[in-house]
């Protein structure tokens, strides 16, 4: 097959780029809206369910190799300091210690734009100072306490709003604040000057910690020149690139594996310092090395969702929104980028005059990393509350106000037409399911005299189109079973299952005949499992690989059965010809062990269109006005994501997004001690992730209309959408219940009580 170069627009977490890929052969038309599919679109329990419930599923943390050494990392206790001297003599004297690495002895290893792993100037509490490899983790933990470090303390700033001040300690020469995004539509300045109804408010969101249950970590083993890395990651190929950059060894000699992984939520996008440290130690010491972070380390040095400070000014003209200005400052810590919270403001509603600015603020804290819909959760929290505040001011139902601004057919940012947009359908389904007609502008009485009830809703905008490059191969065995090999990973979203469904559907097999092998750089490339792009990127390539295998199978069967290929089809594991079924094993079994290998690649997205996902969340809450406690009673989550490949796993993903959103809006908040720059609750005891008792009734609905212009399976992404609108929907419901608004997330009891006391 000939190879063609394709280019396509890609939107990754709000940033639009152009991607280049190579494709082979021709694409298929999308399965139609009324296609009769037997496996795709049906509820199927996960194909890896047995491995997960028996403890057999092997995660990176479960990789124990013979002779393996364990690493623990010494981290800076100071938010900013120069490392003047490191004395390792006492640590090296401890029996069982095999090596210590620090800035004065570690080999050069480029890492994310820096030349070494261990900085001469540590920049946050938790920054890497030294690492110890020892026979056991206990010895390594003892040894890091025996390392003597001479620090020269430097001025720092460990708070977003403090760092924004003109007189703040400058952490970078050009200052702590830099612009990182802007968008203008129409003339916002003039629009505000001609509007009489203007609402302005300030919103704040707190730093959210991922707390993936499996912490970041890697195991490295050298066999001669060949390095194998087991890593808990969302992108094995990203880890490979990071290892290559740091160690300067060829791809030929690097293999990265991630079979099962215990959550990432955006934070596991590539090689970590722990990866490089494990690889360096393993090479120096000639033994496999494991470097896995503790929970505390995870919460200091493995990323977070930036805290934000946002101001929104919004104006009405009659019953329409005339202008909006949204400015946002994000705490990037020591990160080099920010997730832009103004994305939803730029593109969600049909507003003629828009002005947005977003700023990165550096602080002496750990770097941010992407966290499920980075920026969009924070931004929607501000935007969709501002919409409600304006609706209240003009005496309009907030859902009606949104409906009036939800019908635009083109994307305000790119000017391109949407391939499909069913936002209004989301509103209609959600309003019916929650019982929106019960909402009163002043809230209603709750289930007890001191409880008030309220309803709120918010909208969701996200990309999720997927794009090239992504590749897959399908190996069809002579017994009629198949193995899909693809370099993507299943981070808990059900990727293995939905890809198996696509293979079974296209190749004509029973689902049980398909095994899926993922998370191995010895497969062909697949993109990072992030940005809601996995199914839409990889799924179409998998379908083409299965089709290629089917075509070759039909050719082979035609010869073996002596029937013209056009008179044959494959159906549920058998060749069907003139009403006669011959199981694949019988057909291919006639030849000695021939494996059919089908290949597939992801073709570009359609020209001249923009592909988005939409949705809406509705919340019904009660608030106890004596204690300030918020009780979420019911959440309705409606999403427009194109074709739903597996309604069972899709619903699970939505419930999970809703629950993570509840954590964001009600309980999760990293607390930093400003005078020392230390994180006070980097654990699962005092950092409050939701428990089973915090879960309300959740109703999940999908529009489930295939986006047949998007790609050959008609599906878009679902990972991020279900967390985006939930916090704003709950905040709006709380405001409806108690008549005052809490503009800071999380909406804790204390903040509710403070708001109630301020009530006019």
């Amino acid at each position: 097959m000939s190879i063609k170069v394709v280019r396509t627009k890609a939107e990754f977490e709000g940033r639009i780029t152009e991607e280049t890929g190579l494709v082979e052969g021709r694409d298929l038309a999308s399965w139609g809206t009324d296609a009769e599919l037997g496996v795709v679109g049906k509820r199927h329990p996960r194909v890896d369910g047995i491995a997960r419930v028996t403890g057999r599923a092997r995660y990176t943390q479960d990789v124990y190799l013979p002779g393996m050494l364990h690493v623990r990392v010494l981290r800076s206790p100071y938010p900013r300091a120069r490392v003047r001297r490191v004395d390792t003599s006492r640590a090296l004297g401890l029996p069982g210690v095999r090596g210590v690495l620090h800035r004065f002895n570690a080999p050069k290893a480029a890492f994310r734009g820096e030349e070494t792993i261990f900085r001469d100037e540590v920049r946050f509490v938790g920054d890497e100072v030294a690492a110890v490899a020892a026979d056991t983790e206990e010895i390594a933990a003892d040894a890091i306490r025996l390392i003597d470090v001479d620090y020269e303390l430097l001025p720092f700033v460990a708070d977003l709003e403090e760092a924004m001040r003109d007189d703040a300690t400058r952490l970078e020469e050009k200052g702590n604040v830099s612009e990182s995004g802007r968008f203008d539509l129409g003339d916002a300045k003039r629009a505000f000057s001609e509007s009489k109804t203007i609402v302005e408010a300030t919103y704040r969101t707190s730093t959210q910690l991922h707390n993936s249950l499996e912490t970041h970590g890697a195991v490295a083993r050298w066999d001669g020149d060949e390095l194998t890395v087991w890593e808990s990651t969302q992108h094995v190929f990203g880890v490979r690139a990071g290892v290559q950059a740091a160690l300067k060894i060829p791809y030929r000699d690097i293999r990265v594996l991630c079979d099962y992984m215990g959550g990432g939520f955006g934070s596991k996008g590539g090689a970590g310092k722990y990866t490089i440290v494990a690889a360096i130690f393993a090479r120096q010491l000639g033994r496999p090395v494991r470097c896995v972070l503790t929970r505390d380390e995870e919460n200091l040095a493995a990323g977070n969702r930036s805290a934000t400070y946002q101001t929104v000014k919004i104006a009405a003209r009659g019953k329409r929104i005339h202008a909006i200005e949204h400015r946002s400052w994000s705490n990037s810590g020591q990160g080099r980028w920010i997730a832009d919270p103004t994305g939803p403001t730029n593109g969600l509603y049909d507003i003629p005059n828009v002005r947005t600015r977003s700023y990165k603020v550096v602080t002496s804290l750990g770097a941010l990393s992407a966290f499920r819909a980075p920026g969009y959760v924070e931004g929607t929290f501000a935007l969709d509350q501002a919409i409600d505040e304006l609706a209240e001011r003009i005496g309009e139902d907030p859902l009606e106000l949104r409906r009036r601004h939800a019908t635009r057919r083109t994307d305000p940012v790119t000017g391109l037409r949407y391939s499909l947009k069913r936002l209004l359908a989301c509103y209609d389904i959600g309003a019916t399911e929650i019982g929106w007609q019960h909402r009163k502008p002043e809230g209603t009485r709750g289930s007890a005299p001191h409880r008030r009830r309220g309803f709120g809703m918010a909208s969701q905008l996200w990309g999720g189109s997927g794009w090239p490059p992504a590749y897959a191969t399908v190996h069809l065995n002579p017994d009629g079973t198949a193995v899909l090999r693809c370099g993507t990973q299943d981070i808990g979203t059900g990727t293995r299952t939905v890809l198996a469904q696509i293979v079974a559907e296209e190749l004509g097999l029973e689902l049980g005949a398909v095994r899926v092998e993922l998370g191995d750089t010895n497969s062909q490339y697949a993109p990072i499992s992030a940005g809601s792009l996995t199914v839409a990127s990889v799924g179409p390539a998998v379908r083409l690989a299965a089709m290629d295998a089917r075509m070759q199978l039909l050719d082979a069967a035609s010869g073996l059965l002596e029937v013209g290929p056009t008179e044959l089809r494959v159906e549920r594991g058998a060749i069907v010809s003139k009403g006669r079924r011959t199981p694949l094993g019988e057909v291919l079994g006639q030849v000695e062990n021939y494996t059919v290998i089908g290949k597939g690649s992801r073709f570009p997205n359609p020209e001249g269109l923009t592909l988005k996902t939409f949705g809406a969340h509705f919340a019904q809450v009660e608030v106890d006005v004596r204690t300030g406690e918020v009780f979420v009673e019911h959440v309705v989550a409606v999403h427009d994501i194109g074709r739903v490949i597996n309604p069972l796993t899709a619903a699970s993903q939505v419930e999970g997004g809703v629950i993570q959103g509840l954590g964001f809006v009600l309980s999760e908040e990293r607390i930093v001690d400003r005078p020392t720059g230390r994180v006070l609750n980097g654990n699962l005891e005092s950092y409050k992730v939701p428990t089973v008792r915090d879960v309300p009734r959740i109703t999940v609905r999908f529009v489930d209309e295939p986006d047949t212009r998007a790609n050959n399976i008609g599906a878009k992404g679902l990972g991020e959408p279900p967390i985006i609108p939930l916090p704003a929907a709950v905040a709006n419901a709380v405001a409806n219940a108690i008549g005052v608004r809490v503009r800071t997330a999380p909406i804790t009891r204390q903040r509710v009580l403070e708001a109630l006391e301020l009530r006019p």
Partner: protein, 170 residues
């Protein structure tokens, strides 16, 4: 849980021999007195089903059954298990098939990344040992010490209730 561990009075400081039962088989391990049951299961016995997530008794991912009661194995010393019976997720299924709780977890999609799953399952199994027909509130109580960051909670509760029903029919 309510057990007072029968910790031997004078042992250590070096490694000591400890004999106990794991999933019905007798085992003997040579471990320092401060080694947790979790680390012993994972590193010495190769049973990696129980997970180390917080290592301080707040998340439940290391839950196993000790003499039939769910306990956090990161908060249990191996030496405190001498002569006692430990059950882990690896011991639940038999040649006849999966345990009803395991089956129900698959059927109800009660996991996403699956890292908390062994602990969730052991908490549910512990519950069903004592309560043949648990209420939803019993289930909430049984798994309220098991965190799930993916948010599979609704399906976990549904799975536990369904397994209880299935078990009652058998």
């Amino acid at each position: 849980m309510g057990h007072v561990p029968k910790t031997p009075q004078f042992i250590g400081p070096g490694a000591v021999d400890v004999a106990f039962e794991v999933n019905g088989d007798g085992v003997s391990v040579h471990v320092p007195p401060h080694r947790t049951l979790l680390d012993t299961l994972r590193e010495t016995l190769g049973l990696t089903g129980a997970k180390r997530v917080c290592d301080e008794g707040t998340c439940g991912a290391c839950t196993i059954l000790l003499d039939g009661e769910p306990v956090y194995s990161c908060m249990t010393l191996a030496v405190a298990c001498a002569g006692r019976a430990v059950e882990t997720v690896e011991g639940l299924s038999t040649e006849r098939g999966l345990h009803p709780v395991q089956e129900a977890f698959i059927e109800h999609d009660a996991f996403q990344c699956g890292f908390c799953t062994p602990g969730q399952i052991m908490s549910c199994v512990g519950l069903l040992r004592h309560t043949s027909s648990p209420t939803a509130d019993d289930v909430l109580r049984a798994v309220s010490g098991n965190l799930c960051r993916c948010g599979a909670y609704p399906n976990i509760v549904a799975a536990a209730l369904s397994a209880a029903k299935k078990q009652a029919r058998r």
